[in-house]
């Protein structure tokens, strides 16, 4: 019954869109400017058969992949270091806290100046976007770790690295995956924005291109593609998170 309701609400939304745009409705909002569902579907079918579409998908995914993986590696490592070492925390935290409030997308001019190619600049923006949520979640998760786990393993004679790999890293995974989920979402926002500003390929670039050549069905196809990519990659992170934190009580699982 619930699935019928959910499916029904989607169908009603699509029908409403089709009716409002096909009848060129203007009631403050100018639906006359937007393509109909049928036009979008036709454009989608056309794009799916075009190699350019997959090239753009590949470009965006490669940028997300590189930026996000770098952010995950560095965000988790620095989060652990800042939370566990007072000296390194004092050394690194002020610089990190100064940069953190700046939205990654505001760094585009710097990225263009700093990096020899646009490609590297976009990966940098994606990296910065995902880095801070991952760093902050990891730092918080390490600080919130129950001390008894560490006490227990230390009285088994564990070395510092054994404490790190056997307790700190597995114990902080739920918090870390919270950060990875948020990081993935923000990374998509920023990669698409950066592509719109300075890209040569990619879904964001193609969507903005479609807008500038008045190909509105193409804009909607781009938006849907971005939504699907974001959803798939976030679901991937979520699924991996659930797998590695199966020990959590289900209702508290991420």
């Amino acid at each position: 019954m619930r699935w019928v309701l959910r499916g029904g609400s989607l169908v009603v939304g699509l029908v409403l869109w089709q009716v409002l745009t096909a009848s060129d409705t203007e009631a403050w909002l100018r639906f006359s400017q937007l393509p109909t569902v049928v036009e979008v579907a036709e454009r989608f079918a056309q794009q799916v058969g075009d190699a350019q579409y997959y090239h753009d998908l590949g470009s965006s995914l490669a940028r997300i992949g590189a930026g996000f993986l770098l952010a995950a590696a560095l965000g988790i490592s620095l989060g652990v270091v800042v939370a566990r070492s007072r000296v390194l925390g004092d050394l690194l935290q002020p610089s990190l806290e100064v940069v953190r409030p700046i939205p990654a997308i505001a760094l585009v001019p710097i990225a263009i100046l700093l990096f020899p190619t646009d490609e590297q600049g976009i990966v940098f923006i994606t990296f910065v976007a995902a880095f801070f949520p991952i760093l902050v979640s990891t730092r918080h998760a390490v600080r919130a770790l129950p001390t008894i786990w560490e006490d227990a393993i230390r009285t088994m004679g564990a070395s510092r690295s054994q404490v790190l790999f056997r307790v700190v890293l597995p114990g902080t995974l739920p918090g870390v995956f919270g950060g990875l989920s948020v990081g993935m979402g923000v990374a998509w926002i920023c990669v698409i924005s950066a592509e719109m500003i300075s890209g040569q390929f990619g879904v964001g670039y193609r969507t903005w291109q479609a807008y500038t050549v008045v190909d509105y069905p193409g804009v909607i196809v781009g938006m849907i593609t971005i939504g699907l990519l974001g959803w798939l990659t976030s679901a991937g992170v979520e699924l991996l998170g659930r797998r590695v934190t199966r020990w959590l009580p289900r209702e508290a699982a991420i």
Binding site: D151, A152, T155, M156, Q162
Partner: protein
């Protein structure tokens, strides 16, 4: 393993939780430290385990305690099991840290789980076990570690009366069987008398009482 504690002082901030404590435990002895909440019983164990900084001296077989060691295992009131490891893998953990081979640590862990009556629960995660079962896993893990000294911090405090009594019998049996020197902290006088070769009461000055004396007093 014998323990000689002299002038032990532990402070948290400005307040001293333990101040100039002297105490000794002989090889193979099960010493119970009793006393009201906040008298420093747990702090005493944490100092001997090497988990908190202290002044004074704690000698274990004549060697001063500096930091933690696998020779001084601790059993906590909350179980301290790693929730992402199954019962079996929790018991294997101290052996894995020592670099014992997979087969060998598996057979040792299985034997100890069997000894504490948990055969059939090897693959259970701690969250699927009852409080009493988790404490038994913790006990098995401690014994698998084969420490020379076991420090038990009110391990049965959160258990119901029946489970507690079963666990007390099991602990007394296994520790005596292995000849492990033990310091057992409790605020429960009955438990102290039941388990201890000797009972020390911490509080308004440390009082050293032998079990026979307490039994005599209770009988009278």
């Amino acid at each position: 393993m014998s323990v000689v504690i002299s002038g032990l002082t532990v402070s948290y901030g400005r307040s001293a939780v333990l101040s100039g404590l002297d105490l000794s435990v002989s090889q193979g002895e099960l010493l119970v430290v009793a006393g009201p909440s906040g008298c420093g019983k747990s702090t005493l164990l944490r100092a001997v385990a090497g988990l908190v900084p202290f002044t004074g001296q704690v000698l274990v077989d004549g060697v001063p305690v500096r930091g933690t060691s696998r020779e001084r295992a601790m059993v906590f009131q909350e179980d301290g099991l790693l929730p992402w490891r199954s019962a079996l893998r929790n018991v294997e953990l101290p052996l894995a840290l020592q670099g014992v081979s997979r087969e060998s640590r598996r057979s040792t862990a299985l034997a100890w789980l069997d000894r504490v009556g948990l055969t059939g629960f090897e693959d259970y995660l701690p969250r699927s076990l009852s409080g009493g079962m988790r404490q038994r896993v913790q006990l098995a893990r401690t014994l698998a570690q084969a420490p020379a000294l076991v420090l038990m911090d009110e391990p049965f405090g959160a258990l119901d009366a029946q489970t507690r009594s079963t666990m007390q019998r099991l602990v007394a049996e296994v520790l005596r069987e292995t000849g492990t020197t033990t310091i057992f902290v409790t605020h429960d006088v009955d438990e102290a008398v039941l388990l201890g070769d000797r009972v020390v009461v911490l509080g308004a000055g440390e009082v050293d009482v032998h079990r026979d004396a307490i039994l005599k007093a209770v009988m009278a």
